[in-house]
Structures are given as structure tokens and as C-alpha cells.
């Protein structure tokens, strides 16, 4: 794939400490970044999936976890201690907080970021004032 400029050595200088999560190599899949934010009565889980098409994303939710699996459009190649390794998929399992209403979960994908919206069951009910 493309040349590196992080770190900015132009001729293939390699850091003594690897920058990539070791889990990539253990799992043989890339581990995407994610963040879980609380917004009003919902949890918003964002997962960064660069180089992925919407049709190649799989989201599964069970009690307690969301599993995201995605296939990269183009393989991501890294050199680990002299061995070149190709990654073709990304996968992450994220724990979801308690009181999540998993029946009303929705997801959208925009600019390489998957947003999973999880309503809360303990959000309360709005009472109209008569």
C-alpha cells in the first residue's frame, strides 16, 4: 500500500516499539477504534472503519455485547519484525452498558464511521402537563 510518513522517516525507518496494537497480530484481524458516548436517553457507539464499504459490514448484538466485523476494500499491509502481514478484515466486540434496549438498536454508516444508536430502557417516560 502507500508509503508511510508516520514516523516521518522517508526510507523505511522502523520504530523499536511497534505503533500497532498487538491484538492485530494475535487475532490476525485489525482492531478498529471505537468510542461510546451517552447522549440524552441513548448510548451512541462509534466505530472507525476506514477503507470499508457499507455492504461489507456485519453488526450483531446480543445481551451485553455488540460485535462488528468488516472486510477492507484493499488489504492493509504492515511489517512486524521483518515479516510482512496482510490484514483483510476488522473485528471488534464492544460491551454495551446495562439498561440497553437492544430491540430498538439502529445503525448508520457515513464517512467510514459506523454509528450504532442504542436507546436506554431506563430513560423514563415524558409526562405531558395538563
Amino acid at each position: 500500500m502507500a508509503t508511510n510518513f508516520i514516523p516521518s522517516f522517508k526510507k523505511g525507518g522502523k520504530p523499536v516499539v511497534e505503533h500497532h496494537p498487538e491484538d492485530d497480530f494475535l487475532l490476525k484481524e485489525l482492531v478498529p477504534l471505537s468510542c461510546l458516548l451517552e447522549k440524552n436517553s441513548k448510548w451512541v457507539l462509534q466505530i472507525d472503519l476506514p477503507g470499508v464499504e457499507k455492504r461489507n459490514i456485519e453488526v450483531n448484538i446480543t445481551h451485553g455485547h455488540v460485535m462488528i466485523k468488516a472486510k477492507l476494500k484493499e488489504a492493509y499491509t504492515v511489517s512486524n519484525h521483518g515479516h510482512v502481514i496482510r490484514f483483510e478484515t476488522m473485528k471488534k466486540v464492544v460491551s454495551i452498558p446495562p439498561h440497553a434496549d437492544i430491540k430498538r438498536v439502529s445503525a448508520k454508516f457515513r464517512d467510514g464511521i459506523l454509528t450504532v444508536t442504542i436507546p436506554r430502557t431506563d430513560a423514563g417516560k415524558r409526562i405531558p402537563i395538563g
Partner: protein
């Protein structure tokens, strides 16, 4: 040590100033991505390093030579400091003082610090960069380059320490805050930051290569982003300013 009563120079910013650009990991890795690419695109040469005894011991090897994680580059009158490590609380004071010492000794007219601010909704193609200056002489630089002023907000943690030291130094500094995702590497916002820097330093930067590598940069920057967030999250706790400032 912080200078409590520093005297600011009254000389004006020259039309082609000597500039020092600082690239440190922060929100969405804006500074790292922008300055790494500038070093690459402007073919800047390594001219030195900043040694920081508080930093994690790590070295890089290139063609049999050993380099530290915080390096200084130069191309003409443009200098860049690039850190491969996030600057934490312990490193912030000595790092900023080293940068200021270097700037003073090398006749730097202006320090640029590209960074990111979280945007609730970012419009692709309409990403804004705001400016925060430590010296009113830089107002003209912001005006000429159509950079709106960052008017209200709060910056906490190691970034605040760096800003305070820059504010107390004799070298004018301009902090460039570009709207970004905050939690993930954001090359699109970094590209906006590069365009603003390119305009300030009056040097053309070809972004073709950068555009082709956006997805790669997002994947490559994951670990550094995670390490940076661990430090930023410590500083994000005091979100509410003290009552006296409300």
C-alpha cells in the same frame, strides 16, 4: 522554568517570517498528521532533537542512526518539531520550554501549533480552523489568512501548560484549532490544517499523496490515537470552569 514577567518584542512579523511548526499528538492526531506530511512534502531535513528525560524511553533507527522521538526539521526558514509521543503532564513544562529556547536561539518570528477541537457535526468540504494567538501582532496573520478567532472555550491539561508557557515567552504563537472528530484519526481535518499552514508560511504543499493515503493513515494511527486519548481523557475531566469565571 516559566518566565513570569517576560518582555514581548515589539518588532512586527515580517512578510516572510521564520516559522516553527509544532506537531504533537492531540485530538484526531491533527498536529501529527499535518506536520508529518509537511516534513515529507517540503522535504525537510532533520537538524536536531529535543531530549526529554520524562519521556518514555524509545528510539528510532534510520540507516543505522539512532533518533529520539521528538525531532526538529528544517527547510529554508521553516522549522518543525515533530513528536511521536503524546505529551503528558510530566513532559509538558520541559517540552514547551525546550521549544521556546530553540525558537529564541534561532530567531523564530512565529510558532504555529496545529491542534483539533471536537465538532458536533462536521461538514465535509467546510471544515473550519480557528486561531488563538498569544500576541496581538498575529491578528494581522489571522486576518490575511481568513482565520476566525477562537473566542470562547477552555483548554485544560498538558495543552494548557504548553499554551501558558508559549503565552509567557517572547516568541509570538498561533494555535490553529481545526474542527475534527476528536476520538479517531481525522486526515480530512488534518488536510484543512495543512492548507492553513501552507497559506501562513506562503509555501505550496501538494496534497495529492496525502489524499490517496487517508484510509491508510486512519488505520496506521490507531495505536497512537489510543495512547493520546488516554492522556487527553485525564485532562477532559474538569469540563466545568470554576464558578468564579462563569
Amino acid at each position: 522554568m516559566m518566565k513570569r514577567n517576560s518582555i514581548k518584542s515589539s518588532k512586527r512579523i515580517p512578510s516572510k517570517p521564520s516559522v516553527l511548526i509544532i506537531g504533537i499528538p492531540g485530538p484526531s492526531l491533527i498536529g501529527t498528521l499535518a506536520v508529518s506530511y509537511l516534513v515529507h512534502a517540503l522535504d525537510m531535513e532533520i537538524v536536531g532533537e529535543i531530549e526529554n528525560m520524562e519521556a518514555t524511553p524509545v528510539v528510532f533507527i534510520d540507516s543505522g542512526e539512532i533518533f529520539g522521538p521528538i525531532r526538529i526539521y528544517r527547510s529554508g526558514s521553516t522549522y518543525a518539531v515533530l513528536s511521536d509521543l503524546p505529551i503528558d503532564y510530566e513532559m509538558a513544562v520541559s517540552f514547551s520550554q525546550s521549544v521556546i529556547d530553540f525558537a529564541e536561539k534561532n530567531g523564530i518570528d512565529m510558532i504555529l501549533l496545529p491542534n483539533g477541537i471536537q465538532a458536533v457535526s462536521k461538514e465535509p468540504g467546510n471544515i473550519k480552523t480557528f486561531g488563538l494567538s498569544t500576541d496581538e501582532k498575529l491578528d494581522s496573520v489571522m486576518y490575511e489568512n481568513e482565520i476566525p478567532k477562537f473566542l470562547t472555550g477552555m483548554i485544560a491539561g498538558p495543552d494548557a501548560t504548553i499554551l501558558t508557557n508559549l503565552k509567557n515567552s517572547t516568541v509570538p504563537s498561533l494555535i490553529l484549532l481545526t474542527q475534527c472528530n476528536f476520538f479517531f484519526p481525522d486526515p480530512e481535518s488534518a488536510m484543512q490544517s495543512i492548507k492553513v499552514i501552507s497559506s501562513i508560511i506562503k509555501r505550496d504543499v501538494d496534497l495529492t499523496e496525502f489524499k490517496t493515503q487517508m484510509n491508510y493513515l486512519r488505520l496506521q494511527g490507531r495505536q497512537l490515537m489510543e495512547d493520546t486519548l488516554n492522556i487527553l481523557q485525564q485532562e477532559r475531566e474538569p469540563q466545568t470552569p470554576p464558578q468564579i469565571y462563569k
